[in-house]
Structures are given as C-alpha cells and as structure tokens.
C-alpha cells in the first residue's frame, strides 16, 4: 500500500513539479515543513505541556510571519498526550505514518519520551524531547535529541549546595513517574561521591493529595534535609505538609519546581525552597551582558503579552527545540530528515532559553552543568540562592 502511495507521489511530483525537483534534491518536498508536537497539554503534567503548546504556537507564527524557513512555512501539528505514554506512542505513530512529519517536538515528560524514543529512531524521524531524563540521549540514538538539561546536573547542584550547608543525611521523595524515578536514580547514584547518606526514600503517586504520612516517616529518620523530585502539583503539597508537620529542615526540590504556579500553590510554605533551575525564572535579574539575557527577555515579553501568564522553563524547552530545528533546517539547506539530523549534530553556540547549546555526535543534549543556577523562593518570588 505504502509503495503504491509513494509511486503515486513520485509520479505526481515528476509531472507537476518537474522544475522544483531539480532545485530541491529531496524531490517531492515542497509546501510547508510539517512538525509534530506531543505535549501533555492536560492531565497531571499539564504544567509542562500547556506552556509548551502555547510557546510552540507563538514561535511558529513568528517564524512564518518572517517568511518561514528556506522560504517554506512551518506547519505545526499538536497532539495532547495527557501525560500518558500509551497516548504518546499512538500519536507518534500517527504523526510519522499519516502526517509524515520531519520531526517530533516533545513529549513533555520523561516516561513518554522514553516510550517513543525507539519509534522515532526506527522511522528516521527526528525527536527533540522536552523532558529531562538521562536515558533519552544516553545511549545516543542518532535521531533522538533533547533540549531540557540533564537530571544528573540538577542532582549534583543540589548535593554541592548541601555540602556547603554541611548537610550529610537526607530524605528523598519522588513522584512515581518517569521524571521522579529517573531523578531518584541520579540522586542515589551521586550521593556516595558527595558523602551524603539517603536515610529514607519514598515514591508517591502523581495524583497524591496528602503526604503527611510519608513525611512523618522521613521525619522519624532524623534527616537534615528533604529532597523532592517531581513535576506534579505535589511539589506544593510537600512544602505545605512539612510546615504543617513542624518539620523544620531545608526543602530542596528538583528543576521540576521551576514554575511560579507551584510557588503560588504553596503560598507562604514555598518560601525558602532551594532548587536548581534554568535562567528563565530570573531573566530580569541577569546582568545585561549575559549571553542569554536578550533571548530570555524577548521570549518573556512576547509570551506574557500574548497569554497573560508567567513564563516557565518548560515553555522554554519548546522554544529551544523549535529554534534548534529551524536553525538546523537552515544549515542543512533542506528538510531532508537525514541532512537536518546531521546539521543538529554540528550546531554550535545556539543561544536558547535553557542555555547555550553545543551539540556533537556523542552529546545529543548540548548543555551541561552551566544550564543551572541554584535558586530559592523569597516572599513568593524566585531569587538567586546565596548562603547566609
């Protein structure tokens, strides 16, 4: 069936587009460049997917208004996976087989990204994941990239800060999903080399509404700090429940906390939370000469004017993924998947919202430790974390 379709397309192209075919080496390629998006726009990870969708739509409009890429418009096809790997898989098949997209941006969560990693690789469709887990690009799959910073870097930033504070014994909480479990794995892996003991660790359901029991158990272990690793609303719950339990040790969260909504949901309880995050949240506090300042401020201004809500690092991931893809298509001079893939691997110094990306054959993430700053919450606002 597929064969017949291709013969048909080829025949059509040779008759109608004979002149273009000479100019465009890919043959049938003309019209808009199709880019698929799989975001968890609703569901428990909607705090990631919703801003990603909005950002992608905004940026594509902007690129198209400026004449598109290589004179071709970008056509965005957005699917809402609701944070479930099953839906992500079926949408990936749909985007590849029916829509024939050049690349897929997303999924928003690590679990979903890992679920479609092989599908994209086997079908030679570029995947630019917006999720954090290490395993998405380690081992490297030629067609799979990610733009969110690595979990390992976040874990090491947290431990470094703990060392400065003299914290040796900690409790760990993580959500029972791809992001939480992958993060917990990194914490367990790097704890020994920083001489930190994980005295208790608990995993909770992503839809949990009460964590006093688990925190009570951790409290009983006489820990000096708690690390919570998740992207779900429970992040605010952990902060609240700790205060309510009168559990007075520093609370560290992962880069999943990088969304002002969680600070608002946590209210006064969120103050003092320490976490690693990209520079999006503190863009206005960056010195003027910082390489990311311009990109960040511009994105922030456009997004906030259009959607009347604060930007988050997650929306930034969609921004980075699209920017990198557009840049690679320009560099490759074509929308041929293999050429664009090669072009991404050779991209250097692309300034995005998460950091300055330098890709290579072995590094499909492009950013490392420098992507993070340690931040804290002061009076309901993000601020640079500095020791007292």
């Amino acid at each position: 069936m597929k064969c017949i379709q291709w013969v048909g397309v080829a025949a059509l192209a040779s008759v109608v587009g004979g002149a273009w075919a000479a100019a465009e080496s890919a043959g049938a390629a003309s019209g808009p460049i199709k880019v698929g998006c799989i975001f968890s726009v609703t569901g428990p990870a909607s705090n990631l997917g919703a801003p990603e969708k909005k950002t992608a739509e905004m940026l594509v409009e902007k690129i198209n208004a400026a004449g598109g890429v290589l004179g071709r418009k970008i056509q965005l096809i957005v699917k809402d996976s609701e944070g479930t790997p099953e839906k992500a898989i079926s949408f990936a098949h749909q985007l590849i087989d029916e829509d024939g997209v050049l690349a897929i941006i997303g999924p928003s969560t690590s679990g979903e990204s890992l679920a479609i990693k092989n599908i994209c690789q086997e079908n030679k469709t570029i995947l630019l994941s917006c999720a954090a887990a290490e395993k998405i690009t380690d081992p490297v799959a030629p067609y799979v990239f990610k733009v969110a910073p690595k979990d390992a870097c976040a874990a090491r930033w947290i431990f470094q800060t703990m060392k400065e504070l003299g914290i040796r014994r900690i409790g760990v909480l993580a959500s029972n999903d791809g992001f939480g479990l992958a993060g917990k794995e990194q914490l367990v892996k790097y704890a020994p080399q920083d001489h930190i003991e994980i005295a208790a660790s608990e995993v909770y359901d992503k839809a949990t509404t009460d964590l006093t029991g688990a925190l009570n158990k951790i409290k009983g272990q006489n820990v000096q700090a708690v690390v919570n690793w998740s992207t779900v609303p429970a992040q605010a719950l952990v902060a609240k429940n700790m205060k309510q339990l009168d559990f007075d040790v520093p609370l560290f969260q992962s880069h999943g906390f990088a969304n002002i909504k969680y600070v608002q949901a946590g209210g006064a309880a969120a103050n003092g939370t320490i976490f690693p995050a990209g520079r999006m949240l503190i863009a206005d506090l960056l010195p003027d000469g910082h390489p990311q300042k311009k990109v960040l401020m511009e994105y922030k201004k456009e997004y906030e004017a259009r959607y009347h809500e604060d930007t988050s690092t997650f929306g930034g991931h969609a921004y980075d993924a699209l920017t990198i893809l557009a840049e690679a298509v320009r560099k490759a001079g074509s929308a041929d998947p293999e050429k664009v893939r090669d072009a991404i691997e050779s991209l250097q110094g692309v300034v995005g919202t998460a950091g300055v990306f330098n890709f290579s054959k072995t590094d499909h993430n492009g950013i490392g430790m420098t992507a993070f700053e340690m931040l804290t919450v002061k009076d309901g606002k993000f601020a640079f974390y500095k020791r007292n």
């Binding site: 726009v41 609703t42 569901g43 428990p44 909607s46 705090n47 919703a50 029972n176 608990e202 995993v203 909770y204 359901d205 839809a207 509404t209 009460d210 006093t212 029991g213 688990a214 009570n216 158990k217 409290k219 009983g220 609303p233 605010a236 719950l237 902060a239 609240k240 205060k243 309510q244 339990l245 009168d246 559990f247 909504k261 949901a265 946590g266 209210g267 006064a268 309880a269």
Partner: protein, 296 residues
Amino acid sequence: MPTDQIVQYCLSGITVGSIYAIVAIGFNIIYNTTGVINFAQGEFVVLGAMTSISLAARMPLAIAVALAALITALIGALVELLFIRPAKQPTVLRLIIITIGVSILLRETALHVWDEKVHALPFFTGTEVSSVTLLGAHVSPQVLWVLGACALIVAGLSLFFKFTLPGRAMRACAANRTAAQLCGIKVRWMVTASFMLSAGVGALAGCVISPVTQTQYDMGAPLAIKGFTVAILGGLGNSIAAVAAGLLLGLLEAFSISLFPLAYQDVIAIVVLLAVLCFRPSGLFGRRDAHAFGEF
C-alpha cells in the same frame, strides 16, 4: 516507634478517613433512594471546591462555600433531571453506566470552565504554614475544620433522616419504593432530592479539604474510588457504618506507610475492596440478609 509519631499517623489516618467517609456518604444517599451507585460523586466534590474558589475571590469565604454547595446541589438536580430521569428501561446497570458518562462530562466541563492548573481555597484559619500541636503531633488547623465538618455532616444527616418529613420520605423510598408511592410520597422527586443532597454534601467536603489537598479538575475519580471502597466496606446504604469504615481504611493506609513503601498505599485499599467484595459483600457492618447488592 515513638508515641508522637504514632499519634501523627493516627491523625493523618483520621483526616484522610473522614474525607473518604464524606464521599462514601454521598454514594449512600443516592444508593438509598435509587439503588444506583453514582460514579459522578467525586466530580461533585471537585465542582464544589472549584466553584467556591472562584466565588471566594469576590465575597467572604463562608458565603462562597455556602453558595458553592447550593450551586453544586442544583447541578446535582440537573444531572438527575437530564440524564437519570429520562432513561428508558432504567435498570441499575444502565443507570450506573450513565453516571460514569456524567462523571466524564463533568470532568471535561470542569477542565474547560476552570483550567488544568491546581487551585486551592485559602485556609479557613491560619495559613499554609500554621501548625497546631495535638498530643505531641502537628497538624494544619484546616485538619480540625475537616474533622469538624465531617462530624457535622454526619450528625446533620442523621437528624435529617430521622426527624424531618422529607428525610423520612427518602428513607421510606429506600425501604420500599412501591409502598412509599402508595403512601403518597413522590418517589421521583425524592430521587432528585437525593441527588441534590448528595451533590451538596460532596461540595461541602470539597470546600473543606481544598486548602490541604489542593484541587485539580481530575481529582474526582481517585476520590470516588476510595469513597466507593469505604461505602462497600461499611455496607452500602449505611452512613454511620461508612464513617467507621472510612476511619478504618484511613488508619490502615496511614499505618501501612510506617511498614511498607508509600507506593503500596493504594494497593492496600484495593486489596481491602476485593477482599470485602469476595468474602463479605454486604460490608463489615451490614447484615448478610440485608438487601445490599440485591439488585445487582
């Protein structure tokens, strides 16, 4: 285990348990008049909380909560009038499937009316950082509100069903529908009233728990499953038993955390549900010859 930690687990179990109990009571009210399990009960809780959050921005908290309960009760009446009453051949199974449909409808509507974000009512007393000490354990003052509201709802409903005419009429429908009809009770309207009451109770529960649990459009379903477990555990239709069963399940879950990883918490609830369904389908406190499950 030190005593203050035991007390802490107890308090956490009692809080969670009373939330389950209020949801279970909502199931019971409708079950009693119709013989149907209303799987949209969890959505009533969400609707109540969300409505009160929207209203609280414009008026005092107490009025917002009262209005939210009223509005949700009206939605409950609408659900009955639009979906349950017109059903042709209203067999129990068919009606239950309708309620599942209604729950999906309400959930998606909530997503569109509000959004996908987490919302929470402000704390009734104190803030998110306040904590009160009880026997060496620490809890949010809101927990006391939850416990108080649960006690009030149970007491209020018992009085309503025992001493008021509409309450007695509803019980009459539960005991014998035909006889109730022969006595001149408008059974159809009693069914509507039971949906209103159940929605209102659910909404109240949603309001008091919102500050501590936070509210999101899709939190109704997991809550309904726990409430359903408790209703079955206590014996369908028996509200006082539901309270006992709720506390039992809450405590069981809380103490399970001290022994097993937290991830197994929900397994405990499901195992209890399966065990009761297999070995004591009429519930822990129901009589074996009671009409529970009679229509299934």
